[in-house]
Symmetry: C2
Subunit: 211 residues, 2 copies
């Protein structure tokens, strides 16, 4: 959730829908989780879950026995929502306060990933997204672990991003008021790794070294 | 999204539903936004939005003309989801990787906040949540701004929290593998405020001074 050079952004606000795959993919690739919603008897249900994008699909996983996986694998309509918060936007009035954010909404239906090799690929992408470079370092995945886990794919077809950037936009008649305006950037960071008891004194593998 | 003394947490993992109001409220009060889902013709829709909890209700706001506000104020069933990510949980196998998180799901229906004074109260709570101590500093809210904004309340009645804490839980037969295990804490921080052109050189008001 970086806020690259927020102060370099022109002070006109922009808040608009965007349908470009590069924009949508960049948001999806930065987010660690999505919120998946589905309807059952016209009642909505939402659940946060880890995900990875690969090419034009999103992949999630879960226990074969989980209620969510069993509902979604039926192919019912799903709404996938991803939000990155970049800054609080501080205006002269409460009314013009806002938030700089990047969000994506995707409407899709699950396709179940059935064959072993494709499932393992999806788990590899997911693992390497959450902890880059880790898959080859870990104890290799076992067949029974793959069998116990459902992998679902969602084609990124009906998707849009919404982005607000820039400074607050106040009413003209407020501009001379001696009230501070600007941004409070928000940043989500990975902190230095904390070993558990088994790993105390063990050197960190290179892919986990905190820079 | 603090990770208070993650290394002090016992290395047994815990992942369970929790229905205690104090637990649920603490998560709601720390989160800057929620994801609201609703169904229309059995299709799910999700939208992230700022919110504040006050006593046993959640409040959101939006333009009187917004499609979301007009749908929700009908009193249809809504699912409100809030997620805080605390740490990535690094195990010896991909299968046992996990995430330490705190999430809340609420099922509710909107009650429209109708009278002027109650709406202003809700906007004050919301503003002071996002930027503590700011309401009294800002240009006072105007009647037409209140009229242009819908405020909706949701009673926190049917709500549950889900929390995972602690270290990875690996298979017994993997415990001796020379693979690093532990946590990568995640932290969301407010960074030092960035003034816009109008506020360059203006001293920061005390409630915005970054500590």
């Amino acid at each position: 959730m970086a806020t690259p050079a927020a102060h370099l952004i022109p002070s006109r606000s922009a808040k608009r829908a965007n349908y470009e795959p590069e924009t949508i993919n960049a948001i999806l690739d930065e987010a660690l989780y999505c919120t998946i919603s589905y309807s059952s008897e016209n009642k909505p249900y939402s659940i946060p879950t880890a995900f990875v994008r690969y090419e034009d699909r999103i992949y999630i996983h879960g226990s074969v026995g989980s209620h969510l996986m069993r509902e979604l694998e039926k192919g019912i309509p799903v709404c996938i929502s991803v939000t990155l918060m970049d800054a609080l936007v501080i205006a002269k009035s409460a009314f013009h306060h806002s938030v700089n954010y990047r969000s994506v909404v995707i409407f899709a239906q699950a396709e179940k990933v059935e064959d072993m090799a494709s499932k393992i690929e999806a788990f590899k992408w997911l693992t390497n997204k959450i902890v880059p470079g880790s898959w080859d370092y870990l104890r290799p995945i076992q067949e029974n672990e793959v069998r116990k886990t459902t992998a679902l794919a969602f084609k990124i077809d009906e998707a849009s991003a919404k982005i607000r950037t820039g400074m607050p936009v106040d009413d003209d008649e407020d501009l001379n008021l001696p009230i501070w305006t600007g941004l409070i950037p928000l940043q989500t960071k990975r902190m230095p790794p904390i070993p558990d008891k088994l790993s105390e004194g063990m050197p960190l593998p290179s892919h986990l070294v905190h820079i």
